[in-house]
Symmetry: C2
Subunit: 730 residues, 2 copies
């Protein structure tokens, strides 16, 4: 992205010469203080703490509702209190299924009973905890007992079903087997059910995170033949959080849906398995050989079926309300106690969760501890800091979602931003979120040194981009879903960030019994250097937000980015139009049939409806107006404002992200209010930017697309009005 705007926000010294004393949102004088403070903060970070705390927190399995999870929460609360925070536990009562019955059998043409049991490995005592380990399953699968022919559906995403359609293969009344990856896992049973399948098996193919990628655990970090990825299949693109209390908090006495009507529980039973258990099933399939891109790394010919393989899948869950314990630790701001900087990471794991989430949790704690020390020495933040350790993230962002739903009023009034972390690795800074924060994050990334190379984490990230043929600039990615920022940004309209390091810590331990302390120490961030770097980056961001004279939001980069999304969406219609025209020409020429092998199945393609021209002008005009307003805003000098006007300006800045939401929310999923970022309805975690418009186009719902252009334009005009109001303050 080319930077088309200057970023003068406040009268800054020239960055090149005085890089150390000019930061967005600070007067030169305060910038110097802030930089000194951050240096002090950095000096207090200790890798030893991260190591010791991980060992403690990941010593036993601690999914939501476990005794060890409760103990971790209590222990963290005490830690925060000892560091000078006002910490408490806020508990919600959320539906959580534990697997009672798991049966998967091949019943024809041969028989095989899936083992569904991981092996303990040498050198990792945690993997030998037997019954204490959570059995592998997909949370929020419905109960079920089904038997049917099997069909291999690749990753089980929309384009895979298009391929099956071409071959004339229908999954109606069948059980599908899909590979993990290619989308968020919950899409697979959702789509399978929409297509009429009655059961769904998900397995980890060795090509995706097993021996094809590298040596398997314990020799290397990748998935051995018994490893199974657990995970939620709740329909989070509809709404995350407790399935029985959509949009409101799951307090003890809350009114709850009947489980039978809970829309985010899957329609069909779904079970994850290992590649050892998948191989006999796949090997028993006949029919068409799977397309080349579908084939995995097992030593077999991948066939699609249906059948002759027939499988029996029986699942029963113990559906109980479990307590989800969020730890909330507050350090009141000295000047603006009613302006909150929120910072969170979840603490629940599927099993031990050394990497996910403990590696991120301990970085957050060390950050909080160091800031506590600064405070004890008299350097208290000007604004309030709120540190959170969320419970029940794994089953569906439940702890954070219930908390946001519980406190949405006060949050929309007082929150400045939410900074999220989750599992952390080694390598390159990955930062996503609200693009109004991009300029500030970029400055912080430029101030933190990479633990392995003698450059900033920003420079290293850019070098990595360059080598991969990517951007020359530091950019935030757009967030979809997959961690606790989702309720903050997408539901409450609070500017959010998601931070972590990675790229040099690949493995197959995710959500398996192998995500343990010894694994982390061997293959992830062995000396916790990147854990410290994460605390350093996130802590500096928190401190800048807490101490800035004017909140460090910048809209030039925001506008460049959103303009890019708009161009993409417009280009998409052009590409679609050309593709349909070409397809129809080919149909006219009968090219598909002539080119097809008569010995293989072919469903003759039909002509498609032409792609209409949409009127993007309302959004284009709103973006043009915004450009003018942003230029005007950037040209103004808030340092000239008297203190009370500056604070009024800050209060307006706190509202900006909410300007990007629409109360009606997205079509068919009103919980999602944000008009710039949302998880895809059919991608799950994968983001869709300008989601209302983009998804309507992708689904070829032209009327809805035009309507959503209107909604988006209205939203952007609202933001423009807000900016004009701010500009009028000068």
């Amino acid at each position: 992205m080319l930077q088309k705007f200057l970023i003068p926000l406040f009268s800054l010294a020239i960055v090149g010469l005085h890089a150390q004393t000019s930061i967005i949102g600070f007067t030169p004088e305060n910038a110097e203080k802030e930089i000194a403070l951050e240096k002090e903060f950095e000096s207090k970070l200790s890798a030893e703490n991260l190591d010791a705390w991980m060992k403690r927190m990941a010593a036993e399995p601690h999914w939501v509702g476990t005794e060890y999870g409760r103990k971790n929460a209590e222990w963290m609360k005490n830690q925060f209190n000892s560091w000078g925070y006002d910490a408490k536990i806020e508990t919600y009562h959320v539906l959580f299924p534990y697997p009672k019955t798991r049966v998967l059998e091949l019943t024809a043409p041969t028989t095989y009973t899936a083992k569904l049991t991981p092996m303990a490995v040498e050198g990792d005592e945690y993997t030998a905890q037997g019954d204490a380990l959570l059995p592998s399953y997909n949370a929020f699968s419905t109960d079920g007992d089904v038997e049917a022919e099997l069909v291999f559906v690749n990753y089980g995403v929309p384009k895979d079903y298009e391929e099956l359609d071409k071959l004339g293969i229908d999954v109606k009344g069948k059980i599908v087997i899909a590979k993990y990856y290619g989308s968020w896992r919950g899409i697979k049973p959702k789509l399978a059910a929409e297509k009429g399948a009655i059961g769904c098996i998900i397995y980890s193919d060795p090509k995706d995170d097993g021996y094809v990628k590298g040596d398997v655990y314990p020799k290397g970090p990748f998935k051995n033949k018994t490893g199974v990825q657990r995970g939620s299949v709740m329909d989070m693109p509809l709404y995350p959080g407790d399935v029985l209390t959509p949009g409101y908090p799951a307090t003890k006495d809350a009114e709850r849906l009947d489980r039978e009507e809970a829309p985010t529980i899957t329609k069909i039973p779904v079970l994850p398995i290992s590649y050892e258990d998948a191989q006999p099933l796949l090997e028993a399939l006949e029919g068409e050989v799977a397309p080349e891109s579908w084939r995995g790394g097992l030593p077999i010919t991948y066939h699609i079926g249906p059948g002759p393989a027939k499988v029996h899948l029986k699942l029963e869950f113990d559906w109980q309300l479990k307590p989800a314990h969020n730890v909330i630790a507050t350090m009141k701001g000295t000047e603006f106690p009613d302006q909150w900087v929120l910072r969170g990471n979840h603490h629940d794991a599927w099993v031990h969760g050394a990497s996910d989430p403990v590696s991120g949790m301990v970085a957050l704690m060390e950050e909080a501890r160091a800031i506590g020390e600064l405070a004890k020495n008299g350097d208290k933040p000007r604004r309030t800091l709120v540190y959170a350790a969320w419970d029940a993230e794994e089953p569906g962002l439940i702890g954070s979602t219930e908390w946001v739903e519980d406190h949405i009023g006060v949050l929309q009034e007082k929150a400045i931003a939410y900074i999220n972390t989750d599992g952390n690795g080694r390598g390159f800074l990955s930062a996503g979120g609200s693009h109004s924060l991009q300029a500030m994050v970029s400055e912080v990334a430029g101030a933190v040194t990479d633990p392995q190379r003698e450059v900033s984490v920003k420079e290293r990230k850019i070098a990595s981009n360059l080598v991969d043929g990517g951007s020359k600039d530091f950019e935030l990615y757009a967030v979809g879903s997959g961690s606790d920022y989702s309720p903050f940004i997408q539901h409450a309209g609070i500017a959010s960030l998601n931070l972590g390091f990675g790229g040099e810590n690949a493995g197959g331990e995710y959500h398996t019994i192998y995500d343990t302390y010894p694994n982390y120490k061997r293959f992830k961030d062995p000396d916790f250097a990147y854990g410290v770097a994460l605390a350093n980056v996130a802590g500096r961001i928190s401190l800048r937000l807490a101490n800035a004279d004017v909140l460090p939001l910048e809209f030039g980069e925001w506008h460049n980015t959103v303009s890019g999304y708009l161009d993409e969406v417009i280009d998409e219609t052009v590409t679609m139009r050309k593709a349909v025209e070409k397809h129809n020409q080919m149909v006219d020429k009968n090219a598909f049939e002539l080119a097809a092998d008569p010995k293989r199945p072919l469903v003759k393609p039909e002509k498609e409806k032409a792609v209409p021209y949409l009127d993007f002008a309302p959004v284009q005009n709103a973006m043009a107006d915004l450009k003018t307003s942003i230029e005007k805003f950037n040209a103004a000098d808030p340092s000239q404002l008297p203190p009370e006007k500056r604070q009024a300006l800050n209060r307006q800045l706190m509202q900006v992200e909410q300007m990007l939401t629409s109360e009606k929310g997205l079509p068919r999923r009103p919980w999602y209010k944000h008009q710039i970022y949302a998880p895809g309805f059919y991608t799950g975690y994968g983001v869709k930017t300008l989601p209302g418009v983009r998804e309507a186009i992708e689904q070829k719902s032209w009327k809805e697309a035009q309507e959503q252009i209107g909604v988006l334009a209205e939203t952007l005009e609202g933001f423009d009005g807000h900016l004009q109001k701010m500009n009028a303050m000068f």
Copy 2:
């Protein structure tokens, strides 16, 4: 390729309306006769003959020097004679190694002895012929007895060694193991030896033609775990044919090189193995995990090594002169007996060779038989037809090369064109060769009906192109090497074609004991419908060349095609220049190091020399002159010429392809004279167009590139002079 020229050669009726009565090179009157003749020819083609003949010829192994090969040659000679041809056997005495000793052992860190033995399979008695089957080996591997650490080198092509360089891995003193595919096999030991390796193992990875592609033999057509591809590793890009008689015929008493100095025998021992035998070797490798694109389909993590796997490879061959029996069958032309249309296919196989070469051989024979019938009925060709069945193609195009070298004088005087076929399959017409023949071949392809779809083979081919995103026109591909056209076009400068059907007959039988009659009947062209179609296409081409009033060469499409090659070569320098500039900028920024994982090996890339600007003007001007001359030629009307002038023109047309050769040949390989097409020095079979210029650029030999531009320009100017001479005849 857009057709920029009209094709008026001779006064043709409008093609759309009178498609049946206007063909290139014929007066309207003679065109009608020719079309009737071809119809008659087509009606005589019988699939039953192909079936019966394949069963006979592929009943036993028949590599060069075998008794069964000799019997096949004798039988074919008698067949040709019975059809009215004057057939004889021309025998050369060529070096051919038979494997005496084949030992391959893993000696560390565990031990394994390669089985090197294929299994007989149910339903295919031919695979149970035991000792009669030729052991798997690579012909023209040198003898050797080596032991060293093993290194996995992917396909063993130049870019793989670049990747190894980046990782700091050297193969000097090591034994390499390379996958089949990615290049012609002979490149692998050649390059390995250049890099200092002392031995080379080649194996068939299941990803390339085994279970990853589909079910394995006998369930399906792909390679089972014991299948091994035999094949020559002679350095054919230097020169093909007998290794001891470079450039001259291997007659009984010819002077021969000492075997020790024969430059086309490999420098290091090389052995092909099955994936069953490869797995223990690959599994024993440690070191870096192979890059993603290198990984095959075995259920292991692919490591590069070197070691700790150590292997012992011992190979000894029985080096003997063997008789190679070419069958040459001539039908004298009634009007122009000294103008020869040559048509050939090889008859030797590695084992039974049902597909390769017998499927093509029997199509050629049926074509010859049908033309013989026409002749018996009084429809003799105006020009002479020469049908050839080559021996010793498999070890290195030996039979055809020796014959061309033996008869080069008379061939360059009398040959009009050589039409080659080889193994044939099912699906789409694949036609390559001299682009002066493209317009004629396109007409013929439009006249032959596809056996499976009710359109011409041309229309079906174009439909396939369209679906694959390729050309909308019928185009000849440029020929490299890999079959018997090579000595004709590239050494003698005789216009050539290579024809076959394929695309719907994939399998892993190539050069294994599984290329048998039952395999062919199940998985290739079960009812020989495409064998008949091949006879139909090739026979019509032969007849048109034999009967045309003016030889059907067309230079407009030639010019378009060669202009495309020139654009490619020029673009290549631009692309290389930009890549070097970008690379050097990245080096300046230290981006490679910053982006690299410090825990993995990295050889820091150095700056590269800038790509100079070459002067392409000599070639561009020659092409411009040619365009003018070709337009003039196309505007002329040869039907107006008196008969003797027309024949003089034909004699000039026969010389055109020789105008595209240069007596000096290509740098470092003077046997290759053609300046437009050659096999790549480091690709083997893969073609390099404008080879002198292109390969110099690819090797960054800028001085040589500029010299070769001169050679190419001179050659093209010579062609232009020739055209001007022809134009002066009108």
